[in-house]
């Protein structure tokens, strides 16, 4: 087990700097008014990248037992199932939910 990982100050500050830079980037991209499908894709890709930085280097998954990473990924597998099957239902109806 490699439970006690100690990151250098340089690494922690670099990760925070990268997160701030990506925040600026996502706001700048927003004000460029890119057309619909692409703007969402870009925003979500940047968010996923930021979340990965936090999970890997602040939550130490990069050095941690792989079992914890597997648990975290499993959550997203089941989340994909939840959203995917829900969308299959909703999108195959003419009137999705009456009065909603």
């Amino acid at each position: 087990m490699s439970g006690h990982h100690s990151s250098s100050y340089k690494l922690l500050l670099s990760v925070a700097g990268a997160l701030l830079a990506l925040t600026v980037l996502t706001v700048v991209v927003h004000y460029m008014y890119i057309p619909e499908p692409y703007s969402i894709i870009i925003a979500v890709v940047i968010a996923v990248f930021k979340a990965a930085l936090v999970a890997l280097f602040f939550m130490n998954l990069y050095w941690d037992s792989r079992f914890n990473t597997m648990l975290f990924i499993t959550a997203f597998v089941f989340l994909t199932l939840l959203v995917g099957i829900t969308l299959l239902d909703v999108l195959s109806r003419d009137v999705p939910v009456p009065s909603f």
Binding site: M1, H4, S6, A16, T23, V44, V54, N68, A75, L82
Partner: protein, 216 residues
């Protein structure tokens, strides 16, 4: 048996072999909790996705009522607080007890700043009559389902705000323990576990920010 107790650290519970096993068990438990948290917020993200697919134009219209500047400031505030939590853990690992307290105190302050900004955002909407669900009475958005956007907005940012508030309580608890010199390089499990919680809350906001504030 008698000489065993002299080598056992005070924090080590009797059913663990050693400190490392206790530490890893605590982290495993926290990661399982994070899975349940991900799925709880996941249900709300599911609601968001379904209604955004059904009414894409509603989300672009209604998002104009959200203040992008305030949302951006709160994103920076939370990233800063994630850094200070990580620095508090680092301080514990190098036995710098003063820096544990300083970094936890900055994290606590940033968490309060986040909630104050959220308070101003919410009260501004309440003044306009933007309430969740059936209490919605704002006429400024030309869409019959405008209340749905704000119901999802209040549920997601509200649940996230509750997590920040719990985090404020946890930071105070850690500060009390740190001021009693309970944390050192051999034992800082509560700081590590609260740190994992705080980073999770940060990750959730990383998704909430572009999905609500950056679509107008």
């Amino acid at each position: 048996m008698a000489n065993h107790s002299t080598t056992t650290p005070a924090h080590l519970l009797h059913h663990y072999v050693d400190s490392d096993q206790q530490f890893d068990a605590a982290k495993l438990g926290m990661w399982i909790f994070i899975v349940t948290e991900t799925l709880m917020f996941g249900g709300l993200f599911g609601a968001y996705i379904v209604y955004r697919v059904l009414y894409p134009e509603l989300f672009t219209l209604a998002s104009e009522e959200l203040d992008t500047i305030m949302g951006s400031i709160n994103t920076v505030v939370l990233i800063g607080s994630s850094l200070t939590v990580a620095l508090a853990i680092k301080s514990a690992q190098v036995n710098n007890k003063r820096n544990i307290i300083i970094n936890l105190a900055i994290t606590l302050a940033l968490a309060c700043v986040f909630m104050i900004i959220k308070y101003f955002e919410y009260t501004h909407k309440f003044e306009l009559g933007i309430f969740p669900g059936v209490y919605y009475e704002y006429g400024g958005i030309d869409h019959p389902q405008a209340h749905i956007f704000f119901s999802i907005y209040y549920m997601m940012t509200g649940l996230h705000g509750i997590h920040i508030t719990i985090g404020i309580g946890l930071m105070i608890w850690l500060l009390v323990k740190a001021s009693k010199n309970e944390f050192h390089s051999g034992y800082y499990t509560p700081v590590e576990i609260v740190g994992l919680y705080w980073h999770l809350v940060d990750i959730i906001w990383i998704f909430l920010f572009p999905l609500f504030y950056l679509i107008d």
